[in-house]
């Protein structure tokens, strides 16, 4: 029975971001009930304010690191970095969604509330220091995600996507839980530090068993980060879900999942690294290959981006396999760069898709360079970043990852990863080709309103999301210092 039965103010302060977000979510739900429809325009603004406040809270909370609530959660540089990341992603998501929701005539309140709550879940995940917290955070973010994926409930694609996500997600979570149970049984604790201690202690349980248990947990996490062979859900879900949601899912929850994956495996399971490093090695390779090669022949851009996001998960796993301080820093930086880039791409897709997401075929981007040069240019930046061309964040991300890998002498993994990125170039280039080098054949005989619809300029908010992502991508590519130093300082020792 610890002395301070009642939490101190500093502990609340350390949990402030989650509190702020929750309050914002609750407020919106409340207003949803009371406000008239024409007044509901403010939700977007409200959400942004809430997220902004949470962002501030997260940063300031990062000011004095430490545990809180009986070390249920720990606020360190690592946690802060990811908190900021997921909240930032949330901001982008909101900006990108406003126009979309209007276009689809979906009611806004719940949507923003869900976004907020899922961010609560993610930020709990990344701050969690206790498998229970991990589990609950994971569930919060997941359940919110399930709902978001099926948000347009009259859209068959949404339903299917939601159902698949939900069923498989819960299925995988069950494995995760089973693993947790075993770990608990083996180490007698669910606290990450204590797990580490007991694993490192001389009387440690047989490594075979802990390794198996860790493997079971890896199943759960691997599912969340869409690592092969658990990536199967991702393409279907991202393709079916609303475009902005797909963007959000492909970065936010994934980043959080990676955060907790790294934390659990590098800290708690550090002592048995020899057990899981080879697994991650194999998984990373498989993930890269599956993602890149399957993406080669996609005709639906959302699905293609889904595969590409799988591939990128593979790259991050390379850094995880490195299992070093540099590695965790690389993971952080890469996720930051990837988040901006990938979400930006999805934002552009959101815009091009138009009502009912009819225009998500790669051919629908034909001649985009003439119709909407700005959007095309931005998408070009994102794609180049995804390819990993210098002066973009994606390049530096890859660079640091492979640097980490080589630091840990993962030479072959590095070589194969580099070759993979060469393969990946092919399908990204296809989009560039279509945008710049093909005349819009389909629009040629299409009706005038189709043409008009095709060249509707993006709304202010969406444009902001796109440009912000683009600027971020370039900044991370040209002056990566500020993020990278943060990542290095926050890296798990």
């Amino acid at each position: 029975m610890p002395a301070n039965a009642f939490p101190t103010s500093v502990e609340y302060f350390r949990a402030l971001p989650e509190i702020v977000l929750t309050l914002a979510g609750v407020l919106i739900m409340f207003l949803e009930a009371v406000l008239r429809d024409d007044q509901k325009k403010i939700f977007g603004f409200l959400t942004i304010v809430g997220l902004g406040a949470a962002l501030g809270a997260a940063i300031s909370a990062g000011g004095d690191p430490g545990g809180a609530f009986h070390n249920m959660l720990v606020v360190d540089g690592f946690a802060t970095f990811f908190r900021v990341l997921v909240i930032g992603v949330g901001l982008l998501a909101v900006f990108a969604s406003i126009e979309y929701l209007e276009r689809e005539r979906a009611n806004t309140g719940e949507y923003y509330a869900l976004i907020l709550f899922s961010i609560v879940g993610q930020s709990i995940m990344v701050t969690a220091n206790e498998l229970i917290m991990v589990f609950i955070g994971l569930e919060i973010s997941s359940i919110a995600s399930y709902v978001l994926a099926g948000y347009l409930r009259d859209d068959a694609r949404n339903n299917e996507s939601a159902l698949k996500y939900f069923l498989l997600g819960s299925f995988a979570t069950a494995f995760l839980l089973y693993g947790v149970a075993w770990i608990y049984g083996l180490t007698g604790s669910t606290n990450l530090f204590q797990i580490r201690q007991s694993l490192a202690s001389p009387g440690a349980p047989p490594v075979v068993l802990t390794g198996m248990a860790a493997a079971l947990m890896l199943v759960g996490f691997g599912f969340k980060v869409s690592a092969a062979p658990f990536q199967v859900w991702a393409p279907d879900v991202y393709q079916g879900a609303p475009a902005p949601v797909s963007g959000f899912l492909s970065v936010g929850p994934k980043a959080a999942a990676f955060g907790i994956l790294v934390r659990v495996f590098m800290t708690a399971f550090g002592p048995i690294a020899a057990r899981w490093e080879p697994i991650v090695w194999v998984v990373a390779l498989a993930t890269m290959i599956v993602g890149n090669f399957a993406a080669l022949q996609q005709s639906n851009i959302k699905r293609m981006l889904a595969y590409s996001s799988i591939a990128h998960a593979g790259y991050v796993l390379v850094a995880v396999a490195a299992n070093s301080e540099v590695g965790s820093a690389a993971v952080m930086f890469y996720l930051a760069a990837y988040a901006l880039t990938n979400f930006g791409a999805f934002a552009v897709v959101t815009h091009i898709a138009r009502k009912g997401e009819k225009r998500v075929g790669i051919d629908d981007f034909a001649g985009l360079a003439q119709r909407q040069p700005a959007m095309a240019a931005m998408l070009t930046i994102f794609l180049l970043s995804l390819i990993g061309v210098p002066l973009t964040g994606g390049f530096f991300g890859k660079f640091y990852i492979f640097k980490a890998a080589l630091d840990s002498n993962l030479v072959w993994l590095t070589v194969l990863g580099l070759l993979n990125s060469a393969v990946a170039a092919y399908y990204y280039l296809r989009i560039l080709v279509v945008m710049y080098m093909r005349e819009p054949a389909k629009l040629g005989e299409a009706s005038t309103e189709a043409l008009a619809e095709a060249s509707v300029p993006a709304g202010a908010a969406l444009q902001f999301a796109v440009y912000a992502s683009a600027v971020g991508t370039l900044l991370l590519g040209i002056f990566p210092g500020w993020v990278l130093d943060a990542a290095n300082r926050a890296a798990l020792k």
């Binding site: 739900m29 919110a144 709902v147």
Partner: protein, 166 residues
């Protein structure tokens, strides 16, 4: 005595579980699941988990399963139709399961000292007040956070099912 009880309830649980898998009509599956849960509740009791046993009955059997059955009724889901969709799960399923079970069994063999027996009443931490104390001190935060979880569940349910309800 304990052993006998264990065997009985374990048998019930397994039989119901198998039944769940074999039945083609959701209702019967649901009922067998209730059976499993009841049996498990008894086993919890054997393990000294008074509170959990109760919760098991109330929350699971009482609430969740009712919800399930309600939905099944609502959609008046009938027995599964035989549609021949060749999914490799159908063929690879059994070997996979056997392999999985084998591995876990191995795990069990290695982990738990067969010597240690479960003696009813030996474990006294499972009482309501013990759990309550833990919940409101050590596990305060998770407990609070769960509220968000519930909230989001409600929200989600409303979002998705509103039309059907109002």
């Amino acid at each position: 005595m304990d052993a006998l009880l264990f065997m009985i309830f374990a048998a019930v649980a397994v039989v119901c579980g198998v039944n769940l898998v074999l039945q083609t009509h959701p209702i019967s599956s649901a009922l067998s699941l209730v059976g499993v849960m009841a049996a498990l509740a008894a086993l919890y009791l054997l393990l000294g988990g008074e509170f959990i046993a109760a919760a098991q009955l109330v929350v699971y059997a009482g609430a969740i399963m009712v919800l399930f059955i309600f939905v099944i009724m609502l959609l008046n889901a009938g027995t599964e139709r035989k549609i021949h969709k060749a999914s490799w799960a159908k063929y690879a399923g059994v070997p996979l399961l056997v392999a999985f079970l084998g591995l876990v069994a191995l795990l069990v063999q290695r982990i738990a000292p067969p010597s240690e027996n479960v003696v009813f009443g030996e474990f006294r931490k499972g009482t309501a007040q013990e759990i309550g104390r833990a919940l409101f001190t050590t596990y305060l935060l998770p407990f609070e956070v769960t509220s968000v979880l519930i909230l989001i569940a409600i929200l989600g349910a409303i979002v998705l099912a509103r039309k059907e309800i109002d």
